[in-house]
Structure formats: C-alpha cells, structure tokens
C-alpha cells in the first residue's frame, strides 16, 4: 500500500529533518511510529499529506503504485490518504456539515461514485456517529471552532469514518486527551480497522497502544527509523525510554 524509500526532507529554514526513512506498510496493517520530540514525526506526517513548507530532497514515496509526492494534498485525499491532524484547524464561518459533505462528495466523485444529496448524507452521518458512539453536538458548529481538545480529535476520527480512506495517518491523535476521551477515540480507530485499510499511528507515548494493538512498531530518532519490531517493542520503549535507541 505504502512504500517509503530513503526519504529525506527539509524545512523552510534549510534544516534537514528526515534523513533517510525506509518504511513499508501493507494493506490491513497498523503501524506505530514512535519517537521523542524533534525526531521528525510531524515532518513525516506533513510530507506524506502534502503540507506546504517541506522540501523533499531525496527518496520516494510510492502509494498504491503511484508517486505520492507528485500529488497535491487534495489529490492525495481523493486517492484515499487521510491525515488526522495533531492540531485540527479552526475555520470560522464554515459549517462542519457543509464542509464534510463537500469533502465526501469530492472523494466520491474521484472514486466514480454518485454524490450524496442532503438526505443521503445525513443518513450516512447518523450511521457513523452511532458506530463511533459520539453525539451529534459537533455537527452544526463551524469547523473545530470552540471545540475542546477532545472534541477536535473526535471530529478527526469522525471525518475519517465518513471518508473511508485506504491509508490513514494519525498524527499524535492521543495528545491532549484525557483517559475517557482517549478511550472513545481509540475505540473509534479500532472500529475502522479493515483488511483494505492501512493505518500509521504517530505518537510520542505508548499509552495509545494500550488501546490499539499495532502490527509493527518503529522507533524514529534523528530523522531515521532506528529500530522496528512487533508490539513488544512499545513495551520495551516504555521501560527503557528513547535514550536507548538514540541514533548514533
């Protein structure tokens, strides 16, 4: 599904953040990428989703046989890539439902599926809300405006459920959540695991992995993946800290 080869990227001030990432994620798998602050986690999420401000200097990203880096962020999304933002953006004046319907119909058009009218859309929304066990109180408000940290993250997972991506990149989805909110969000993510969907969880802490069991765990340090293993690697990290894995 996703193959990252020797990916190097730098930020606007010229500093190289990613220094040769290699990673392969197959359909149906959940990979966790863990690393300390400054290791390049958010840069990786940014580069994969097409966020402005990064320059790829070397390497390639192949997604379902296509050069992902050649696509604009909206094209990537329509091809089935979803980024759950670490800091979801507040957009005053744009209604959450209006936004989501525009997004869903853009994705459906790209898939060759008919657009949903208002009634069909509402039905789909209700079904997903029920699946994720979240209320409909967020729907009539402007996108993320005045949402609590937990509400913003719930809204991200709700959008993911609506858009049904093939590849979901979840950037620090657990940050800023209390234990109850974490449980709701993790429960939602688990329900969205599917054989035709891959997920990449980017996280600093191991606690998200108490709720979501990954197939593979990678340690990111100094812009490289320095160790990979199965879920037991997360527990090892918890015990010994990142220091043991610091890139030389």
């Amino acid at each position: 599904m996703l193959e990252i080869k020797n990916l190097h990227a730098r930020i606007a001030d010229g500093r190289e953040i990613l220094k040769g990432i290699d990673l392969a994620v197959a359909s149906g798998e959940v990979h966790a990428i863990m690393g300390p602050n400054g290791s390049g986690k958010s840069t990786l999420a940014g580069v994969l989703s097409g966020r402005p401000g990064y320059e790829v200097t070397e390497g390639a990203v192949v997604y379902r046989g296509r050069d992902l880096l050649a696509l604009g962020p909206d094209e990537r999304a329509r091809e089935g890539v979803f980024l759950a933002f670490q800091y979801p953006v507040e957009i005053p004046g744009v209604n959450n439902m209006y936004f989501l319907r525009a997004a869903l119909n853009a994705v459906r058009r790209a898939r060759g599926e008919p657009e949903l009218d208002a009634g069909q859309f509402l039905k789909a929304v209700r079904a997903k809300l029920k699946l994720l066990e979240i209320g409909d109180d967020l729907l009539q408000r402007a996108v993320n405006v005045g949402f609590s940290g937990g509400e913003k993250k719930r809204n991200e997972i709700f959008q993911m459920a609506m858009l049904e991506p093939r590849l979901a990149i979840l950037d620090e989805t657990d940050s800023g959540l209390d234990i109850d909110a974490l449980r709701v969000v993790a429960g939602g993510i688990n329900k969205l695991r599917a054989p035709d969907r891959a997920m990449v969880l980017i996280t600093h802490y191991q606690r998200l992995l108490d709720y979501i069991e990954p197939d593979r765990v990678h340690v990111l340090s100094g812009g490289r993946i320095v160790k990979s293993g199965d879920k037991t690697l997360a527990a090892e990290l918890e015990k010994h800290g990142y220091a043991a894995f610091e890139a030389a």
Binding site: D74, P88, V89, E90
Partner: protein, 433 residues
C-alpha cells in the same frame, strides 16, 4: 462665475435638454444645483473624503443624461425576491409601471415614483437642504438632472408587512448617466423593509441620491445590492436622519461596476437611536470601489454597529473610509466600527481609514481595520480532506464575507444576497493574477 472645465459637457447637456412643464420651484432648484456643480467641479484627491477614490473612469469621458429605454421582464426576473413584495422597477432612471407592482399597498403607505410624487403630492420634499451643503458635486449634479426615483412615505404607526423591492436597471450602448433621486420618510412608529438592486448592461453611470428620515421609534431595514454591469459607474449617496429611538439597519453588497462609490451619511439626532451599518465588497479585475461612511452622534444614548468586509483580488482597489463623530452632548454613546479585508492577489490593494472623533467623556467606542491573506493552514485543512484548491478558496472567501451577511435580519433578503455572492464566487476567473 468660474465653471470647472470637466463640468462643461453636463452644463451644455442641461441647457439643451427638455425641461418643460415642471413646477417653478423645482425648475429653479435644478438651475441652482447646476450652478453649484459647475462651481464645485469633480472632487479631487486633495479633498480628504475623496483621497483614495480613483475617478479616472468617470473623468475620461462624459456621460450625457440617458433619454430612457426599455427592459424585458426577464431582466427583472433574475433580481426579484422569492416572496411577495411591493415592487418598483426603474429602467434608465425612469419608472417602468409595466414591470412594477404596487397594487397591494396598505392604508397610510405612499410608495410611488419620484415623478409621480412631484406631480401628485408636491408637499413631500424630494430635494432636501443637504444638496446645498458640503462638497457633494455629484449630488448637485443629481439635483439638476434627476429624472425619477422612488418615494416611500409611511404615516405614523404603519408597518409594511411586505418588503419593498426597488430594481434599477441601466441599459446603455454608449455612455449615459442615470440620475436617481429617492426618499424614504417613516413617520413615528412606522416600519419598513426595503431592498434596492442595481444591475444592467453597458457603459452607464448610475448617480443615485437617497434621503432617509426616520421619525421617533420608526424602523427601517435597508439592503442595497450593487451588481452593476462591468462597464458601469455607480455612485450612490444616502443621507439619513434618525429621531429618538429610531432604528436603521443597512447592508450593502458591492459586486459590480468598474468604478463604485457608496457614501452613507448619518445623523443620529434623537436620543437612543440605533444604527447598524454593514456591508461587503468583493472586487476583481481592475474594479475600483469605495465605501465612505460618516456617522454623527448628535444625541445621547445612541448606538452604532458598523462592519464592512472586503475581498479584493486581481488588480482591484478597495477603499473604506469611515468616520464616527461623537458630539459633546452625546453621552452614553456606544459605537463600534470595524473594517476587515482579504487580499487575494499581490497586486490587489486596499486603503482603509477608520476614524473616531470623540468629544464626550462617557462613551464606549472602538474602531479597527485589518488587511490579510487567506489562512493557509485552513486552506491546507480543507484540501487535506479532498476539497480542490479552487473550491477550498471559495469556501474560505464565502466564510469571510458571511459574518457581515449574517447581520442582515430575516429571511426575505438574505437568499437574494447569497445568490449574488455565490454567482460572484462561481466566476472562476483568475482572482490571483
């Protein structure tokens, strides 16, 4: 007498035009106004009120008074409100009864064309004292040339249930000027909702003057939709006077015209009057548009809420000049003014000059202005969900303008405005060239 050269074509046109059959006071007033126009000349950038407005489109050729014209009903259809309304249509500055409908007027409501009003009810003043004050040369020109307009006069306590819609159509093959003179007089306790729409085709110049007088406790909701032809020039001056406890909520949407200027001058003359002055201007190409408001808090306890939002793309130029003056006796004034602008291209420009002059000591006043670009992080968020860049930009621009639009009360006018806004947003020309 010294006559400014740029006024000469208009003075010549006046001399050669047919002016027979008008009552003597009107004819004399026209003569006096013409003389004033000749003496004042066109405004220049040396005058503070006209400092930022580029009048080149008006100066480089002359616009002889329109001799009239006709419009098909289809031209009106696209501008009509969805629900029932008292409708008056003017084509090239003349009332078009066949396109209008004022059959369902309640008792105590006078809604007729200005020409009819002058003939049937000359006691209603259509020319007011303001025409002989201040440097308003185009108002003077209007007083000399006006052909028609609309007069709305409500007796005390009359509440118009249906909105009044006034549709001004300009249609010109060659440069022509339309001079519209209108008046709204609401007696104490009366209420009305009025929408004026301006549209057309060709190189015409709309020069509109509107006087509004609100008696004690009267209330007026007023929308001005300027969606003139791309070659048109649109100058509109509204003068308002509010008595005690009166309420005026005005909204103007400026979309059309090569050169456009809207002047609103308000005197809050009675205690506790409430003023809402809001609007949006969306400009592209090489459009030039000015909003100039002057609010005079002359009585205590009055409120002003003013919000204008500008979206300026391509090489367009937007101007906001707003002043609020609080006189010494106007204690407990509560006045807030804000102008926010979104620049869509590097060659688009905005001049904004909010101003407050406060001479009373117990007041709550604020003013401010911002000029910014589209929020890149919001744009990325929308795109990251699959929404194409063009649509994402449209959504953000619409959202930016929306909070000004939200000040328009009630459901009668908002869909009309939203439709014009959507049409503007739907024109996928390069906003960012």
């Amino acid at each position: 007498m010294i006559v400014k050269t740029e006024t000469q074509p208009y003075i010549d046109a006046f001399r050669s035009g047919p002016r027979a059959g008008e009552p003597e006071p009107i004819a004399a007033q026209r003569e006096a106004a013409l003389a004033r126009f000749g003496a004042l000349g066109f405004p220049t950038r040396r005058q503070e009120a006209w400092r930022f407005t580029n009048l080149r489109a008006l100066e480089r050729r002359s616009f002889p008074p329109s001799v009239g014209g006709a419009a098909p009903a289809s031209a009106v259809e696209a501008l009509r409100l969805a629900g029932p309304a008292h409708r008056l249509v003017l084509v090239n500055g003349r009332f078009a009864p066949e396109l209008s409908d004022t059959s369902a007027l309640p008792r105590g409501a006078w809604i007729k064309s200005t020409a009819q009003t002058l003939a049937e009810r000359p006691s209603l003043p259509v020319l007011d004292a303001g025409d002989s004050e201040g440097a308003q040369p185009f108002a003077a020109l209007n007083a000399a040339f006006f052909t028609d307009g609309v007069v709305i006069a409500l007796e005390p306590g009359v509440a118009l249930e249906r909105p009044v819609e006034i549709i001004h159509l300009g249609r010109a093959e060659a440069p022509a000027s339309l001079h519209l003179r209108s008046r709204i007089e609401l007696a104490p306790g009366s209420r009305a909702r009025v929408i004026e729409s301006f549209a057309g085709a060709g190189p015409y110049w709309t020069n509109a003057v509107l006087g509004i007088e609100l008696g004690a406790g009267a209330a007026l909701d007023h929308v001005a939709l300027q969606d003139e032809s791309g070659e048109a020039i649109h100058l509109a001056l509204a003068r308002l006077r509010l008595d005690a406890g009166a309420r005026y909520d005005g909204f103007s949407l400026t979309l059309g015209g090569a050169l456009s200027r809207r002047d609103v001058q308000v005197e809050l003359a009675g205690e506790g009057a409430r003023l809402g002055l809001n609007g949006a201007y969306l400009l592209r190409g090489e459009q030039e548009a000015t909003i100039a408001t002057v609010v005079d808090h002359a009585a205590p306890g009055c409120t002003t809420r003013e919000l204008f939002k500008g979206v300026v793309g391509d090489r367009a130029h937007g101007v906001f000049q707003g002043s609020i003056a609080v006189r010494p006796q106007a204690q407990k004034t509560d006045a807030h003014q804000l102008n926010k602008n979104l620049l869509l291209s590097r060659r688009a420009t905005v001049d904004t000059k909010p101003a407050l002059e406060i001479l009373a000591d117990d007041v709550k006043c604020s003013h401010g202005a911002t000029v910014g670009d589209l929020d890149e992080s919001a744009l990325f968020y929308l795109r990251a969900r699959g929404i194409g860049e063009g649509e994402a930009r449209r959504m953000l621009i619409e959202a930016f303008a929306a909070d000004a639009l939200d000040t328009v009360e009630g459901e009668a006018f908002r869909p009309r405005l939203a439709a014009h806004l959507q049409a503007w947003l739907g024109l996928r020309e390069s906003w960012e060239s």
